[in-house]
Structure formats: structure tokens, C-alpha cells
């Protein structure tokens, strides 16, 4: 285990002291989706410490995570485990090895909509996601149901100062989000 580089990178991106983990399993025990994960939370943490970079970054678990924060509030060592999962998503996308593209894709369309309007235009973000997935109809019934209940707007709401917001986005994440 002399590959400390990955541990340090993950600690830096997440801002968490991962090396203080003593493998008590509490994070995994409270995780609502542990059963759906290929590598459960406490093991992800252990693999980071052991420097098993590829194993961690290509794991589906980091995308299965719901960011419910249960693990973080229960860790006896105050490790914000959810934040580490969040950091691993960023690192895996940066290294082009993410095991699941859907979450990132949807989040990117979400933010793209915010970049354009300042506020989320739900229909636009959802349609862009559905188009990218080439799956326009699987949830059409749900969408129509929402629309009929007045819960899905057709037109976007815009902030007044759209230019300022676009410039901020440009400075931070470049012109286009997603990949």
C-alpha cells in the first residue's frame, strides 16, 4: 500500500480526513442503497486508503449513492462519507472512467438550464436528458400526469440579469456543461 497519491487526492478534493476511518461499518449499516452497491461504503473508504484507485473510480456505488447523508452524520470519526462519494464522482468524470453516466448527464442538463435561465426549467432539463438517452416515451405518462395536475410548466422562468449568471458559469465550468 505505497500508493498514497490517490488517498491524498481524494482527501484534497473532498476536504475530508479519510485516513481516520477505523472500519466500524456504521456508514454501510445505515445506507439505504447498500444492497444495490457493488462496493459498500466502508469498503470504498478502505479501498481509497489502500490506493486501489481504479477499483474505486470505476465502481457503480459512487453513482448509486443518493446523497442522503445518513453515513456522514453517523460516522464516529466525523468523516463526511457522502462528500467523499461526491468527490469520487468528480474525479471519475475527470479521468473518464465513470461507471454510470446518467446521474452526471442529468445533473449537467439541470445546471445547463440554470445557466441559461437562472432558474431550473424542469421540462427543458428532463427533455434534454430524455433526448440524450433516446428514450422519450418511457416516462411520458408520468410527465403528462404532472402536467395535468399543473405541476409541470411549459415556459421557463428567467432571472433579469441572465448575462451576469452566464458569465459566472463560464468562469467556473466553461461554456458547455457535461460531455
Amino acid at each position: 500500500m505505497d500508493n498514497l497519491e490517490f488517498l491524498h487526492e481524494t482527501e484534497k478534493v473532498s476536504g475530508e480526513k479519510i485516513s481516520t476511518c477505523y472500519q466500524c461499518y456504521k456508514c454501510t449499516n445505515g445506507c439505504p442503497v447498500a444492497a444495490e452497491m457493488d462496493i459498500v461504503p466502508h469498503r470504498i473508504i478502505r479501498h481509497i486508503i489502500l490506493g486501489n484507485k481504479e477499483k474505486v473510480l470505476t465502481s457503480k456505488s459512487i453513482w448509486t449513492c443518493l446523497q442522503c447523508i445518513t453515513c456522514s452524520v453517523r460516522c464516529p470519526n466525523d468523516i463526511d462519507v457522502a462528500r467523499i462519494f461526491d468527490a469520487l464522482r468528480k474525479i471519475s468524470v475527470k479521468e473518464h472512467c465513470e461507471a454510470d453516466k446518467d446521474t452526471w448527464l442529468f445533473d449537467s442538463f439541470f445546471l445547463d438550464s440554470v445557466r441559461k435561465h437562472g432558474k431550473l426549467h424542469e421540462l427543458e432539463a428532463i427533455m434534454n436528458y430524455k433526448l440524450a438517452k433516446r428514450d422519450l416515451f418511457s416516462d411520458a405518462k408520468m410527465g403528462i400526469g404532472m402536467f395535468l395536475k399543473g405541476r409541470m410548466g411549459i415556459l421557463p422562468h428567467n432571472v433579469k440579469d441572465r448575462k451576469q449568471l452566464r458569465e459566472i458559469f463560464k468562469k467556473i465550468v466553461g461554456e458547455r456543461l457535461g460531455r
Binding site: V33, I69, M152
Partner: protein
């Protein structure tokens, strides 16, 4: 008359518009003035911090900076907006380096992180109080059995002092009790509904939200009450997600107040799981 800076966030203008209507009616009854933050933008929700931490802080800081000018408490009824604003406000007030970085990006706006961020439970506690709530109820809700559902992000905010217990909050229980409902104890106050995976991983949302719904049914409750728009939506969407039967209505906290004060629901037409059965149990005092 108290005045609050009201930050609706995206949900309360679109998929949960009826939550806003309900909040406005109830606040106006109690004499709380809501001054909507002018030209507010999205708080970034869970998408921004997944993609870029700086972007997440910038989006929340832009709103806080604009709100700081008039110094009122910042009222964010949506749990995600509350959570994100609270985190950024706290970090910016404590971390000088971050404050300078963010302020450079949002300039000429300046965010100092000095504002008080309040969720809807705090607003009812701090600005109305349980005594007044109990005293002024107009309709009898004692036939309605409710389970309070807090969801994840209202109290789970690592590194920030939270307004209620992280694992076993009771503040909404107290409000529902004061409003005259029959509170039912249950173990799923904080269980995750599947969060933002409604589209990207429907099966997970269906599994987790069904578990919550089934537990509520087991306790004999008439309705689930929450303050979170995403929780409300995921549970209310259960018929579309694949759970066709055995669903209880999912009401917003402010809607219970509507029942207690006016005996009806302005947004009953926006609920996917019908609310009529529960509303019928309301009696004139």
C-alpha cells in the same frame, strides 16, 4: 408584523406551486409578511455540488448576498434550498479564503454569510409559536392520523449546528400536535425517499418510497406530512412509478395548517394521490 425575505426556489414556482399558495395563505393569516427576494436564482440543489463545489457556493451566495441588504431572516421552505443556503452561508462566514473567492466571482454582489436561514418548521415555531397555533385553530383535525416525514436534508447538514436533532427530530411533531392532528409514532421520519433519482434510477425511488408508504399504512395513518417538495413529489408520484394501490395522501406541512385554519385545501387538485378522504375528516369546531 414580522417580515421575512422569502426565497421560493424553483420547485415552489413549478412542480410544487400549490405549496407556495398554501404557505402564503397561512402566513398571511398569522400576519407574517413574505417579501419575495427579487431576481433570485436557483440554489444549485444537489446537481451543483456534484459537478462543481465552487459553482454550488456561487449559486447559493448570489441569493444570500442580495438578501443580506435588507437584513430580514431568509425563509427557504424547500429542504434542499434550505440545506444549500445554510451550508454556503455558514462556510462563507467562517472561511475567509472561500469568501474572497466567491465574492470575486459574484462581484459586484458581496456575500458575507451573516444572514439567518430559516426553514418552514422554524418559521412556524419562531414567528407563531405552538401556543398561538393551538389557540387559533378553527377546525377540528383530531380524526386525522398523521405521520411526520422529515426527509434527509432538512436536518442532516454535516458541520453545521442544526435546529433539531439530526436523527430524531421532533419540531414538526410538535407543530402537528398543536394544529390538533392525531400524531402517530413511526420509525421512518428520516428514511430516504430516493431523492433526485426519480428519472435516472426509477426502481430505487420506487423501492424506497414504497417502503415509506407501506410503513405509514401499517401504522394506520391517514396521511403523510412533509415539508420537502422532493419528498412530497416522489411519494405522490408512486402511482406513476409503479405502486398503483394502497397509497396515502402526502400533504405539505402548511396544508395541514390550511385544514386547521380554513377547513379546506387550496391545492387539492394538484395532488396525484387523492386527498378528499382525509379532508372529509375535518370537522367544524
Amino acid at each position: 408584523m414580522a417580515t421575512l425575505t422569502y426565497y421560493p426556489g424553483c420547485s415552489l414556482k413549478t412542480s410544487s406551486k400549490f405549496y407556495e399558495t398554501s404557505i402564503k395563505e397561512v402566513c398571511s393569516f398569522y400576519g407574517i409578511r413574505l417579501k419575495e427576494l427579487s431576481d433570485w436564482s436557483c440554489c444549485g440543489a444537489s446537481a451543483a455540488h456534484t459537478v462543481d463545489e465552487t459553482l454550488a457556493h456561487v449559486l447559493a451566495a448570489r441569493n444570500i448576498a442580495m438578501a443580506e441588504a435588507d437584513g430580514n431572516h431568509f425563509f427557504a421552505p424547500c429542504s434542499a434550498c434550505y440545506n444549500r443556503s445554510k451550508i454556503t452561508n455558514e462556510k462563507i462566514s467562517k472561511d475567509k479564503e472561500l469568501r474572497e473567492e466567491i465574492n470575486k466571482l459574484i462581484s459586484p454582489l458581496q456575500c458575507l454569510g451573516t444572514i439567518e436561514i430559516k426553514n418552514i418548521i422554524e418559521v412556524f415555531h419562531d414567528y407563531v409559536g405552538i401556543e398561538r397555533i393551538a389557540r387559533e385553530i378553527q377546525y377540528d383535525l383530531s380524526a386525522i392520523k398523521v405521520v411526520p416525514y422529515y426527509g434527509c436534508v432538512l436536518t442532516r447538514i454535516p458541520g453545521v449546528k442544526t435546529f433539531d436533532d439530526v436523527e430524531d427530530p421532533v419540531s414538526m411533531d410538535t407543530l402537528l400536535w398543536a394544529a390538533g392532528t392525531k400524531l402517530v409514532k413511526w420509525p421512518f421520519k428520516m428514511e430516504c425517499c430516493g431523492a433526485g433519482k426519480t428519472l435516472t434510477n426509477k426502481d430505487t425511488t420506487l423501492r424506497l418510497s414504497s417502503k415509506i408508504m407501506d410503513m405509514a399504512l401499517t401504522t394506520g395513518a391517514d396521511m403523510i406530512v412533509t415539508s420537502c417538495p422532493l419528498c412530497q413529489m416522489n411519494l405522490d408520484l408512486l402511482p406513476y412509478l409503479g405502486k398503483a394501490e394502497d397509497n396515502l395522501p402526502v400533504l405539505f406541512l402548511s396544508e395541514v395548517f390550511e385544514l386547521a385554519l380554513f377547513g379546506r385545501l387550496s391545492g387539492s387538485g394538484s395532488h396525484i394521490i387523492p386527498v378528499d378522504g382525509a379532508v372529509k375528516k375535518v370537522k367544524k369546531k
